[in-house]
Amino acid sequence: MDKDLRAGIRDASPLLLGILSFGLVAGIAAVEADLTFIQTLGITVIVYAGASQLAALELLDGGAPLAVVIGTAVVINLRVVMYSASIAPYFSAYRRRPRAVLAYLLTDHAYALSVAEYAENEDRDRRLYYLGAGGSIWVVWVVGTVAGVGLGTGVPEAWGFGFAVPLVFLGLLIPAMSNGPKAVAGIVAGAGAVLAAGAPLNLTLLIGSIAGIAAGVAAEEVWA
């Protein structure tokens, strides 16, 4: 196997246990939301963005209007625009079609690993490294989701496995609150969502998120 491809897989490997468990949670959540196996595979492969998948499943199951389901998922995924802009210069030498494939694999982890590696190691074959990292993340994510479907209803309810969903988000939230304004954004969004609990049309998440984003921008003004 090519050494650049292998380097990508190797660098992604410490993250794969977390991605596998996240995938398991997503698979179980899909079963509990009464998605068929094909629908679960569909959301996992077509959307391929864990946090937005879990939120969409909860909203669909809760009977939220489609516009709210879609709007919420899109807001959750807005952050990839930053990744796209940041990684774009490294992909500028490639043709349109390979770039379209690379874009599909753009996730938090694939982005973070690749940009760090490109900055450090100019000789890397960028495409192969990225495919190694992003591809192994994709495979493990899909395997985890399918395994989660298999586990699905087999988990006793008393174990409260649904609690693993907020725990996944918590594991991502704490590192994301990496400076003052970002912590303010998180705290205001969390408080806003609690206060907005029970808002009509399941708008809780959108209300909390927008309040948090506004608070983060305002806090940045004060901090600077």
Binding site: D61, L78, E157, V168, N202
Partner: protein
């Protein structure tokens, strides 16, 4: 039956009543329409792919995120994640004690420390679930 609202975005998983954490106890009544599910999947998928492709595709035409967009985008991850998590951990009850002495809030707080120390999603899930089970099956049993 379906409970709207009480538990924020996760009413089906975490209703605020006496059955706090059971996956899917509300059943799938809302998902009787497979078309609705597929429309959601495809529209979210296409939109998300568009976001991923955006600047990778436009590079050369637009090389940078304009500053007016960059600033709010910076706060999307902490804001969205907190809005997802916190309503699942905190249920406002009539008294302060009843609000604070809640297995989900305590397990969430312990898991948050694990997340902070390890920055590992797996460790966060493991510590949070074990704490929840300790409370449910040992302390409060």
């Amino acid at each position: 039956m379906i409970e709207l609202g009480a538990g924020g975005v996760a009413p089906a998983f975490l209703d605020a009543g006496g059955d706090p954490i059971s996956l899917g106890s509300a059943g799938g009544l809302a998902l009787t329409g497979p078309v609705r599910v597929w429309v959601a999947i495809v529209v979210i998928g296409v939109a998300t792919y568009g976001l991923r492709l955006s600047f990778i595709h436009l590079f050369g035409l637009i090389d940078e995120v304009p500053p007016w967009l960059r600033r709010p985008l910076r706060y999307v991850p902490p804001a969205v994640l907190a809005a997802l998590v916190i309503p699942d951990l905190i249920t406002v009850r009539p008294s302060v004690v009843a609000t604070l002495v809640d297995e989900r809030l305590i397990a969430g707080a312990v898991a948050a420390v694990a997340a902070w120390r390890t920055e590992s999603v797996f460790a966060t899930i493991a510590v949070g679930m074990v704490t929840l089970w300790l409370f449910r099956f040992v302390v409060l049993a």
